[in-house]
C-alpha cells in the first residue's frame, strides 16, 4: 500500500462522512483508509448511491406483479409486455448539475438514463422528462428553461431516440432548485436481459466507451492537500455530454449483446468506475482486481483517486467470457470506441486497485455495501390542511377559462416539445400533447403508452393524498389512451431529509404511493431519490415524479383527446363533487392555495378507469381525455382546440363543477348513436356518467356565457410560453 499522509477530520468532513460513518470505515478495514479509499467509501455511502435516508421507506413500496421481470436494484426495471418482449425503463434526476449548467446538466441527465436502459439489453425507444422551474418572474428562470430544453433536445435528438412527452411546471419553490427528471423506455427480448452481477473467477473486466477525464470530481475533495497542484486551473466539476459517442456506444453494446460474450454489464453513472465495479462485485458475491493504469485516460497525470471518482460520461464496464476479448474488441474498434481489459474477477471478495503494480486500495466488497449507513430519520406527519374557506367566482367561467389557458400553469408547451425530435425511429403513434404518448412496438401492431405526472401542490398540502394522486393520475393518463397500465418508475425529489418536516413529506408521499400501487396493481420497478433540494432554507415542493408505462394490444384501438366529429355527445365519467381546494382555479384566479387536495378514492379510480379502458378496447370510444389540472372546462377546451371542433357545454353554474379537480374522471366524445348504450353500461356497472355537451361549430359555448372562438382561445393558449421566452 502506498504511503500516504494520515486522514484528517477535515478531509472526512469534506467527503461528507460523519464521525460515526468514519468509525465504521475503520472497523471495516481494521486500519486507517488512505485518501483513495476514503473517496471510495464516501461516494458509495453518499445519499445518491446508498439511499441511506430513504431506504427504510422505499422498502415499503410494492415492487412485484406477475408481469414484473426485474424490480428495483438493477440499472432499470423490466416488465413483460407479451409476445416475448420486455419493456425496460427508469426515471432519474439530474437536478443540481442542471441548475449550475443547464444545457450540459440536462444533456448528461438524458445520457445517463439512456445508458441505464441499454445496459440491460434494450434499444431505447422513447424519452420523456419532467421539468420544474422557478417562478416565471424569477431572474434566472428564462435562462434555465432555455438551457435545459436545449440540452434535453440536443442529446436526445442526436442519439436518435424520440422525446415523446413530459411535463413543465413553474413555481417559486423551485427558484433555487430546479428539477430535471429524465425517463427512458427501451425494448428488449424478454429472454435476453443483461444484468450486472459479475461472475466467473478469472474472467476479464472490460472498460468501453469514452476516455476518463477529471469530470464531475467533487470540488470540496479536490481542495485537499494531496491534489493541490497550484499550476493547474481550478478543475471542472461539470460533465460535458457527448451524444455522438453515446449513439456509437448504444450500437456497439447492442451489437456485442447479440453475441454470447457478455457475462455482466453495468454503466458508469454517478460515482463512475467505483460504483459500477463495486456493484458488479457485490451482486456476484465475488472480488474484483482493477489495474488503474489500464483505464483509458483523457488527461495526463491523473491519480488513482481521480480515476476512481471521475464521472466522465459515455462509459461502461463489462465482464466478458474468457476468450471473447478479441471479438468484442473488433466491434468497439469498428465504432471507434475505447476498449481495454482493466481487471479480473477474483474469489477474494475484495475490491483491489493497482497502479503500475502497486496496490492503491484494498477494501472488502461485502461490508462496503452492507455496512453502508441506513438512517431511520426522525419525521413528523404533515398536519392536515384547514378546510377550504368559501369560494366566490371572481368572474364568469369563460373569462376564467381564457385566463387559465393563457397562463404559466396551463398554457401550451408546444415551444418546448417542438425542440424535441418526437418522430425519429418512425414508430411514434401519438406525439406530445395528449394524456400519454404512444409508440409502436417495432414491427408489430402493438404499442406502449408512456406518461409522467405529479401534482406537487397537492403533495405539499397533504403528502399522503398527493403521493397517491401522482400514481393514480399516471394510471389514468395511460387508461385514457386505452392502455393497460403495467408499472411505474419514481423520481422522489425532496428537500433536506434531516428536517423532520421534510422527512414527513417523504414518508407521507411514499405511503400514499404505496397504497395507490397496491390498489391499482401498478408496482414500482425502478426509481431514484434526490434529496437536499433546498437553498437558504427554502425547500422545493415535495415532488414524487412518477413515470408509467402501459401496453396496447391493438394500436387500431386507442383513444386520443382531439375531437374528431361534429354532433358527438360529450359524456363525463366519474363523480363531480366540485372540489376546489388546491386547484389551479384558486391558485391562478384567487391567488389562494388553501384547503385539502382532492381526495383519491382508489377503488373508484380503478372502477371508472377499467370501464373507460373497456370502451376503448371494444372500439366504442376513440376520443377520451382524463380530467386533471384545471378541471372539466379546461379538459373540454383542450379537446376542442386539439380537434379544431367547437363545443356547446351545459351544466350547473357552480365553479366547482367546471373547475373542481375531483379525481377519477374522464371526458368521452361519442357519436349520438352510441350514447344510450354507453350510459346503460355505465348504469349497470354503477359508474357515474352524464351528458354535458355536444360537439360542433367553431366556438366554445357554456350555458349563458359569451361564447369564445376556438381560434382566439388557441392563440392565447399557444402564445404564453413563446412570448415569455422571447421577452427580456
Amino acid at each position: 500500500m502506498r504511503n500516504e499522509p494520515n486522514i484528517t477530520p477535515a478531509q472526512v468532513a469534506e467527503h461528507g462522512l460523519s464521525e460515526a460513518e468514519y468509525q465504521t470505515i475503520l472497523n471495516v478495514l481494521g486500519r486507517e483508509p488512505n485518501l483513495t479509499e476514503l473517496g471510495i467509501f464516501s461516494v458509495m455511502w453518499s445519499e445518491h448511491c446508498s439511499y441511506k435516508s430513504s431506504k427504510f421507506w422505499l422498502k415499503t413500496l410494492p415492487t412485484e406483479a406477475p408481469w414484473v421481470i426485474c424490480g428495483p436494484g438493477e440499472n432499470a426495471g423490466v416488465v413483460d409486455i407479451g409476445d416475448g418482449k420486455a419493456a425496460i425503463f427508469k426515471m432519474e434526476s439530474h437536478n443540481h448539475p442542471s441548475f449550475i449548467e443547464p444545457y450540459q446538466g440536462a444533456a448528461t441527465g438524458v445520457g445517463g438514463i439512456l445508458r441505464d436502459v441499454f445496459t440491460m439489453g434494450a434499444r431505447p425507444i422513447a424519452n420523456m422528462n419532467a421539468l420544474r422551474f422557478g417562478a416565471p418572474e424569477d431572474a434566472k428562470t428564462r435562462h434555465l428553461v432555455a438551457g435545459v430544453v436545449a440540452g434535453v433536445g440536443g442529446y436526445g435528438n442526436c442519439v436518435g431516440v424520440p422525446t415523446v412527452g413530459g411535463e413543465v411546471n413553474f413555481d417559486a419553490a423551485y427558484n433555487g432548485n430546479i428539477l430535471v427528471n429524465a425517463m427512458t423506455v427501451g425494448l428488449a427480448d424478454a429472454d435476453k436481459i443483461f444484468y450486472s452481477a459479475a461472475a466467473g473467477i478469472g474472467n476479464p473486466v472490460v472498460y468501453v466507451g469514452s476516455k476518463t477525464g477529471r469530470d464531475g470530481i467533487h470540488g470540496a475533495t479536490m481542495a485537499s492537500a494531496e491534489f493541490d497542484d497550484a499550476t493547474e486551473e481550478k478543475r471542472p466539476t461539470v460533465q460535458v455530454g457527448d451524444p455522438f459517442t453515446e449513439k456509437l456506444l448504444i450500437e456497439a453494446c447492442l451489437e456485442l449483446m447479440g453475441t454470447d460474450a457478455i457475462v455482466a454489464i453495468q454503466d458508469m453513472g454517478a460515482a463512475g468506475l467505483t460504483c459500477s465495479s463495486v456493484e458488479m462485485a457485490d451482486k456476484g458475491g465475488v472480488g474484483l482486481d482493477l489495474d488503474i493504469d489500464k483505464v483509458p485516460q483523457r488527461e495526463t497525470g491523473m491519480t488513482p483517486y481521480e480515476v476512481m471518482l471521475s464521472e466522465s460520461q459515455e462509459r461502461m464496464l463489462m465482464v466478458l467470457r474468457p476468450g471473447s476479448e478479441d471479438a468484442a474488441k473488433a466491434i468497439f474498434d469498428k465504432w471507434q470506441l475505447d476498449f481495454a481489459v482493466v481487471g479480473r474477477v477474483t474469489d477474494t471478495g475484495r475490491f483491489i486497485g493497482r497502479n503500475n503494480g502497486a496496490v492503491v486500495f484494498d477494501i472488502p466488497v461485502r461490508p462496503l455495501v452492507d455496512e453502508s449507513p441506513e438512517y431511520e430519520r426522525p419525521w413528523v406527519k404533515t398536519s392536515a390542511p384547514a378546510p377550504l374557506a368559501a369560494v366566490t367566482a371572481p368572474m364568469d367561467h369563460m373569462a376564467a377559462l381564457q385566463i387559465m389557458l393563457a397562463g404559466p400553469d396551463l398554457s401550451s408547451r408546444r415551444w418546448v416539445w417542438e425542440q424535441y425530435d418526437n418522430s425519429v425511429m418512425a414508430d411514434t403513434v401519438r406525439k406530445p400533447g395528449g394524456d400519454a404518448a404512444i409508440v409502436r412496438i417495432h414491427g408489430s401492431n402493438r404499442g406502449l403508452a408512456i406518461t409522467t405526472d405529479c401534482t406537487p401542490r397537492y403533495c405539499l398540502a397533504d403528502p399522503h393524498q398527493g403521493g397517491a394522486q401522482a400514481v393514480a393520475e399516471v394510471w389514468r393518463n395511460l387508461t385514457a389512451v386505452g392502455a393497460r397500465p403495467l408499472a411505474i418508475t419514481d423520481c422522489l425529489n425532496f428537500g433536506n431529509p434531516e428536517r423532520p418536516e421534510t422527512m414527513g413529506q417523504l414518508v407521507g408521499c411514499i405511503q400514499g404511493m404505496g397504497e395507490a400501487c397496491i390498489a391499482l396493481d401498478f408496482p414500482v420497478v425502478s426509481g431514484n431519490v434526490s434529496l437536499y433540494n433546498e437553498t437558504h432554507g427554502q425547500a422545493i415542493l415535495p415532488t414524487p415524479a412518477i413515470g408509467g408505462i402501459g401496453v396496447l394490444d391493438d394500436l387500431e384501438k386507442h383513444a386520443d383527446l382531439a375531437l374528431r366529429r361534429t354532433d358527438d355527445q360529450i359524456i363525463l365519467i366519474g363523480e363531480t363533487k366540485g372540489h376546489l381546494g388546491q386547484t389551479i382555479y384558486l391558485r391562478q384566479l384567487l391567488q389562494r392555495q388553501d384547503g385539502p387536495p382532492p381526495p383519491v378514492e382508489l377503488a373508484v379510480e380503478r372502477h371508472n378507469g377499467d370501464f373507460v379502458r373497456g370502451l376503448i378496447a371494444a372500439g366504442t370510444v376513440d376520443t377520451c381525455h382524463d380530467l386533471s389540472d384545471g378541471g372539466l372546462l379546461v379538459a373540454a377546451a383542450e379537446m376542442a382546440m386539439a380537434g379544431d371542433i367547437g363545443l356547446d357545454l351545459n351544466g350547473p353554474d357552480d365553479p366547482g363543477f367546471w373547475f373542481g379537480e375531483d379525481q377519477g374522471r374522464y371526458l368521452l366524445s361519442v357519436p349520438a348513436t352510441l350514447v344510450d348504450a354507453i350510459l346503460q353500461q355505465a348504469e349497470k356497472r354503477q359508474v357515474p356518467a352524464q351528458i354535458i355537451g355536444r360537439t360542433g361549430g367553431e366556438t366554445l359555448t357554456l350555458n349563458t356565457c359569451e361564447p369564445i372562438s376556438l381560434s382566439r382561445l388557441r392563440r392565447s393558449h399557444e402564445a404564453w410560453l413563446p412570448d415569455y421566452m422571447n421577452s427580456n
Binding site: I100, E101, Q104, S210, G213, R214, D215, E232, E233, R235, P236, V238, Q239, V240, G241, D242, P243, F244, T245, R298, E299, S312, Q313, Q336
Partner: protein
C-alpha cells in the same frame, strides 16, 4: 477598435467536437495528431479607443455573455495592442 475573443473549453472539460474532428482527421490518414480542441472566435467592433477601458468592457461581456465560465475560458485580443 477591434477586439477578438477566443472562447474554448477549460482544460479537463471534454470537447466532443474536437474529439470527433481528431477521429476524422485520423480516418483521412493524417498521422501524428494529438488532442484536438475546437473553440469559437468572436470579433467585436468597439467605439472605445482606450485599450484598458476596452479590455475591461470586453471582459465584462465575456463574463456576462460570450463565455460560459462554468466550462469555458476566454482570451481577449485587441487589435492596437
Amino acid at each position: 477598435m477591434k477586439a477578438r475573443v477566443h472562447v474554448s473549453y477549460k482544460t479537463g472539460v471534454l470537447d466532443p467536437q474536437g474529439k470527433a474532428i481528431g477521429l476524422t482527421l485520423k480516418n483521412l490518414g493524417f498521422a501524428g495528431i494529438g488532442e484536438v480542441r475546437q473553440g469559437k472566435l468572436i470579433e467585436l467592433e468597439l467605439a472605445e479607443s482606450d485599450a484598458n477601458k476596452a479590455r475591461k468592457a470586453v471582459e465584462a461581456m465575456c463574463e456576462k455573455l460570450l463565455a460560459n465560465t462554468v466550462i469555458e475560458n476566454y482570451a481577449i485580443e485587441l487589435d492596437n495592442e
